[in-house]
């Protein structure tokens, strides 16, 4: 059990590959990330960002190589790992026909949270949706869905949180709320985010990664990045204008 060991890294990835037949989604990725970091992953479509995120969050498994998240192997210790990670996606991952409270209670039960009722209330208050707790999720706005989705992700008090394009489709107000919430829990948590929003990604991150065609193009600590060099690399791989 690695609970008592607080010196493990957030990520230890060695030669991670995911291929099927002729198709190579990831090709020999190496990565190390310390705990408490915020990693932003950039790259063009098809670069393997989603695949990498899926493997690290145990939704998928590698064909070759290995990955340890929070010191746990993503294949062999997947169940234990799932207890410790949370996932926020552009999809809310909530059941529209259930109320906010029912949704959270369901997930709390899945994670076998202690005192689920209390925890659910705690989180509903934290995302300021307590007044809507009995309303069906189908009646929620996009911003509210995202807030509830964050509550869902934090129910089991994960150490590491994956973010898959969390800002996409959000209006500015909702984006602010998400920013605030992330800022609040920034300490003590590690984040790994995939985003097409270069500015947001750079703003939030402590480490940046650019993937293209399943390979690592650039990985660096933000402090050590030369802004122009980064912009140039980003432009040439992702092909988007950078202001």
């Amino acid at each position: 059990m690695t609970d008592a060991n607080t010196t493990y890294a957030a990520l230890e990835v060695r030669e991670l590959s995911r291929t099927f037949g002729a198709r190579k989604a990831l090709d020999g990725v190496d990565l190390d990330l310390p705990r408490g970091a915020f990693l932003s992953i950039f790259g063009p479509n098809g670069a393997g960002k989603t695949t990498l995120l899926k493997i690290l969050s145990t939704l998928s498994s590698p064909s070759k190589g290995e990955a340890r998240v929070l010191g746990l192997d993503v294949v062999k210790e997947a169940v234990e790992l799932r207890e410790r990670v949370g996932f926020i996606s552009h999809n809310p991952l909530l059941y529209p026909d259930l109320s906010a409270e029912e949704n959270l209670t369901f997930f709390a039960e899945l994670y076998c949270v202690e005192n689920p009722a209390e925890r659910v209330t705690e989180l509903l208050r934290a995302v300021e949706l307590d007044h809507r707790r009995l309303d069906l999720v189908s009646s929620f706005s996009r911003g509210m869905l995202q807030r509830l989705s964050i509550a869902r992700a934090l129910l089991h008090d994960p150490e590491l949180i994956f973010l898959d394009e969390p800002y996409s489709g959000l209006d500015p107000h909702a984006m602010d709320i998400l920013d605030e919430l992330i800022a609040k829990i920034r300490h003590e948590h590690t984040f790994i985010m995939v985003s097409h929003d270069l500015q947001k990604g750079l703003e939030l991150c402590s480490h940046a990664l650019i993937l293209a065609k399943g390979k690592v193009v650039l990985f660096a600590d933000k402090e050590l990045i030369d802004d122009d060099e980064f912009a140039a690399t980003y432009r040439s791989t992702v092909g988007l204008g950078v202001s």
Partner: protein, 254 residues
């Protein structure tokens, strides 16, 4: 890289020699079985029936059969198709264990070959029923089970065609590939053990076969299995070549 032509297989003979040699041998054996069936093997007292039945207006309790000759072809084909289905199931299991595409390809080709053999089983079985009972179709255990197996195999391809994601397609197909032999075996058991309250149970003579019958039968069985194996290999070669082309294409397109 040398092609398969020069690859050395067992006993120093090249792969090609083995493959085409087996094809030739298999064909010869099957033909031998066929000829022996008509020229050497004696006529057989046909199937006994559990109760005298009226089929097509004729009272039947037993039949002396020329049509039983089909047995020499039908049963080897039937056994072969059943074996192939199990082989495909084996490759399906290996695919799920390793997730390597080659096993998915092997399973798929296996099921393809099984389809051909199963259809042949159905046709010969149906012809046998026609000649023996005069009816074009009887829901007796073996025919019914083979019909179900045909449906299971067709479902395999329908399932594959309905999924776009390559890997998901392979996983689902592998799951189905494992279920096919399981369900076929269960079907056979259940239709045998539960008598249909309407049709008489057809009991094929289980008694020992004379050597003049057994030998052609075994020869035919062996020949048929060889042919199945050869067809499988040839198709696999085709698929592997296609794969190589695909890999080259994608590395050029980058």
């Amino acid at each position: 890289m040398a092609g398969p032509e020069s690859k050395k297989g067992w006993l120093g003979l090249s792969e090609n020699t083995w493959t085409y040699g087996a094809l030739a041998l298999g064909t010869v054996l099957t033909l031998a079985d066929f000829l022996a069936a008509f020229l050497i093997a004696p006529l057989v007292l046909g199937a006994g029936v559990s109760q005298t039945a009226i089929i097509n207006g004729i009272a039947v309790s037993n039949k002396l059969l020329f049509s039983q000759k089909i047995f020499y072809f039908h049963v080897p084909v039937a056994i072969s198709s059943f074996l192939i289905v199990f082989v495909a199931g084996y490759y399906s299991i290996r695919f799920l264990a390793s997730r390597e595409k080659i096993y998915d390809t092997k399973a798929r080709i296996g099921v393809e070959v099984a389809l051909v053999f199963t259809v042949l089983t159905m046709i010969t079985g149906d012809l046998w029923t026609r000649f023996e009972w005069g009816a074009w179709w009887v829901w007796e255990p073996r025919l019914t089970t083979y019909f179900i197996m045909t449906l299971l195999i067709i479902a395999y391809f329908v399932l594959r065609n309905s999924i776009e994601d390559e890997e998901r397609r392979a996983v689902y197909a592998a799951v189905w590939g494992i279920l096919i032999p399981i369900d076929a075996a269960i079907s056979f058991l259940i239709t045998r053990l539960i008598p249909s309250s309407v049709h008489p149970v057809v009991l094929r003579s289980g008694g020992g076969l004379l050597p003049t019958q057994l030998i052609p039968f075994l020869i035919g069985l062996f020949g048929m299995m060889m042919i199945a194996w050869v067809v499988f290999r040839l198709r696999m070669r085709e698929e592997i070549a296609k794969e190589r082309i695909d890999v080259l294409k994608s590395s050029i397109e980058g």
